[in-house]
């Protein structure tokens, strides 16, 4: 078991929505959960847990906008997984080069680019800092551990998204695991400027989970 720090980029959310993520115990929720919340329906946790499968994880990582075989909806609208970035080192064999991609760069790209708009305009957004527990081995069916997609010994199939350093959380990332959120707003020239750093005082430090004991 490893405590893995990660980033999450969220575009165009207002401060109230981010404050809710930091204060509501459920924290950051998957698209499937969000979709149910938006239509006032309770989230069917059991059914969502059954959708934690290798095939769906593959869809989440490599075919995000493809159809969900269960509902026919775009998978990105009903995914039980949550993409986080922990950064990665990408080995470009043909160039004999290793490239380092920082987590915050990937998160910032998604936070400050409106990919929903075909014109891809710059937009204000948030970068969340959180931690998740990842297993020593792949365990897609276990909702309490995140899947380390960026670990080649876990995600062995080739992925064009490897460089994003993805760690896939499941169903939700509790707010107790979300430390803070930085708001970036593009200046007129486009350079993002930090305008807020929200700290979650209800954050629970992962020291409690680590193999270190304090004296009595």
């Amino acid at each position: 078991m490893i405590i893995q720090w990660c980033c999450k980029g969220l575009a165009k959310l207002d401060q109230d929505a981010v404050t809710e993520i930091l204060t509501d115990p459920v924290g950051l929720i998957c698209q499937d959960w969000l979709a149910h919340t938006q239509i006032g329906m309770p989230f069917p946790v059991g059914r969502a847990m059954q959708r934690l499968t290798e095939a769906n994880l593959h869809r989440h990582v490599n075919d995000f906008s493809g159809p969900d075989p269960l509902t026919g909806l775009p998978f990105c609208d009903v995914s039980p997984f949550i993409s986080l970035s922990a950064g990665c080192v990408d080995r470009v064999v043909r160039k004999k080069t290793n490239r380092t991609y920082r987590a915050v760069r990937t998160a910032l790209d998604f936070a400050t680019t409106d990919y929903a708009d075909p014109a891809r305009p710059r937009c204000p957004g948030w970068v969340l800092y959180c931690y998740v527990v990842v297993g020593s081995n792949p365990a897609v069916r276990i909702p309490t551990v995140a899947e380390e997609i960026r670990e080649l010994n876990h995600g062995r199939a080739f992925s064009g998204w490897y460089w994003q350093g993805e760690v896939a959380a499941k169903l939700n990332v509790p707010s107790a695991q979300i430390l803070c959120a930085e708001r970036y707003e593009p200046l007129p020239g486009g350079r993002p400027r930090i305008t807020s750093v929200l700290v979650n005082q209800g954050f629970c430090h992962p020291a409690a989970l680590l193999a270190e004991r304090r004296m009595l």
């Binding site: 930091l22 990408d90 080069t97 803070c180 350079r191 750093v197 700290v199 005082q201 430090h205």
Partner: protein, 344 residues
């Protein structure tokens, strides 16, 4: 100048996605680090809530977060990172922005290449010299690279020779090519000329790049054989890169969003073509005729060559001195130095 419309269409590139990539990487290079280290924020909350704290959220840049912000500034200052980390990030970001901008607007892409080159040069990587020579035709750097290459090949810098990666060695040769006339026999005789290790975006043997640099160096008026061999070598690398692009295009989702792992432009090839075009102009050799010499290549194979020719051509919109000098003074060729955008 930018990538011609017919190549945009043939490559099915999404212009807004390319613009977004250019913009993001450009601005990421200029990003100011957060005034607060996330590790410090985590550390301050290690033992639970602060005295008088609550579960609520506070903004470190707002009034409600002033106390916490002051404590972070006093007791949890960001740990210093290795200085090269941010420098490398800036260089890579600007280089990636250059690839996108060269498709959109040559002068902007050229300026990015010079800036990226300066960053790489600060890390003492010959790749930086190559980018600046390719983008701006800086003769001072070219002469300096030739001096360094000569010293390496003649064994006067054994230690550095051992440390230099093949990829960097070929950049040194390409940067030096316009002013490496003295290296004739040395280049042909060196074991590097036969190395098979694959390098570059198109994963071509080192010896191919070495030959490309040597042929560029040997370009001369009336020597059609050297010209034909150089054209053939450029075309061979372009074909290999074009094949990589065809693979990447098959993955339509990544390709359309500009997130493909294959660079649309092979900067090594485009830079080499730009350098050869400048050498031709300087030595009064008939310039490359794209329609006659490269039009038989497929659109993906043409991209880097087209960009290279634009980069190596005269561009009236780029008139400012890039202000880049050599890292090491040239010992015996000082009088030959001229800063300019050609090798005249």
């Amino acid at each position: 100048m930018s990538l011609p419309d017919h190549l945009w269409e043939a490559l099915e590139l999404d212009r807004p996605a390319i613009e977004a990539q250019a913009h993001f990487y450009r601005t990421y290079a200029e990003l100011e680090e957060s005034p607060f280290d996330v590790r410090g924020i985590a550390e301050i909350l290690r033992y639970g809530q602060l005295p008088g704290g609550s579960d609520r959220v506070v903004d470190l840049l707002g009034e409600d977060g002033q106390f916490l912000a002051a404590q972070l500034r006093e007791d949890y200052r960001p740990a210093a990172r290795e200085p090269w980390v941010r420098s490398a990030e800036i260089a890579d970001s600007v280089r990636t922005a250059a690839i996108a901008n060269l498709l959109l607007n040559t002068p902007t892409g050229r300026a990015d290449l010079v800036e990226a080159g300066e960053e790489y040069r600060a890390a003492d990587l010959p790749f930086g010299d190559f980018l600046v020579v390719a983008a701006a035709g800086n003769r001072e750097l070219s002469i300096s690279a030739a001096d360094r290459l000569q010293a390496l090949l003649s064994g006067r810098m054994d230690h550095e020779s051992e440390l230099m990666e093949p990829a960097q060695l070929r950049y040194l040769l390409l940067a030096a090519a316009p002013d490496a006339a003295d290296l004739g026999p040395t280049l042909a005789d060196t074991p590097y000329a036969r190395r098979a290790v694959a390098v570059g975006a198109a994963s071509q043997p080192f010896s191919t790049w070495w030959r490309l640099g040597d042929l560029t160096r040997r370009l001369a008026p009336g020597d059609e054989e050297v010209r034909r061999n150089l054209r053939r070598t450029i075309a061979r690398i372009a074909e290999a890169h074009g094949r990589q692009l065809e693979f990447a295009m098959a993955d339509t989702f990544h390709w359309s969003t500009g997130h493909s792992r294959v660079d649309v432009i092979d900067l090594d090839l485009a830079g080499a073509v730009a350098i050869s075009a400048r050498v031709m102009a300087n030595r009064r050799i008939r310039p490359w005729d794209f329609d006659e010499e490269f039009a038989d290549l497929s659109p993906p194979e043409q991209v880097s060559i087209v960009i290279g020719l634009q980069l190596g051509g005269t561009d009236p919109t780029f008139g400012e001195d890039p202000g880049v000098g050599p890292r090491e003074p040239s010992s015996d060729r000082r009088e030959e130095r001229q800063l300019g955008y050609g090798f005249g």
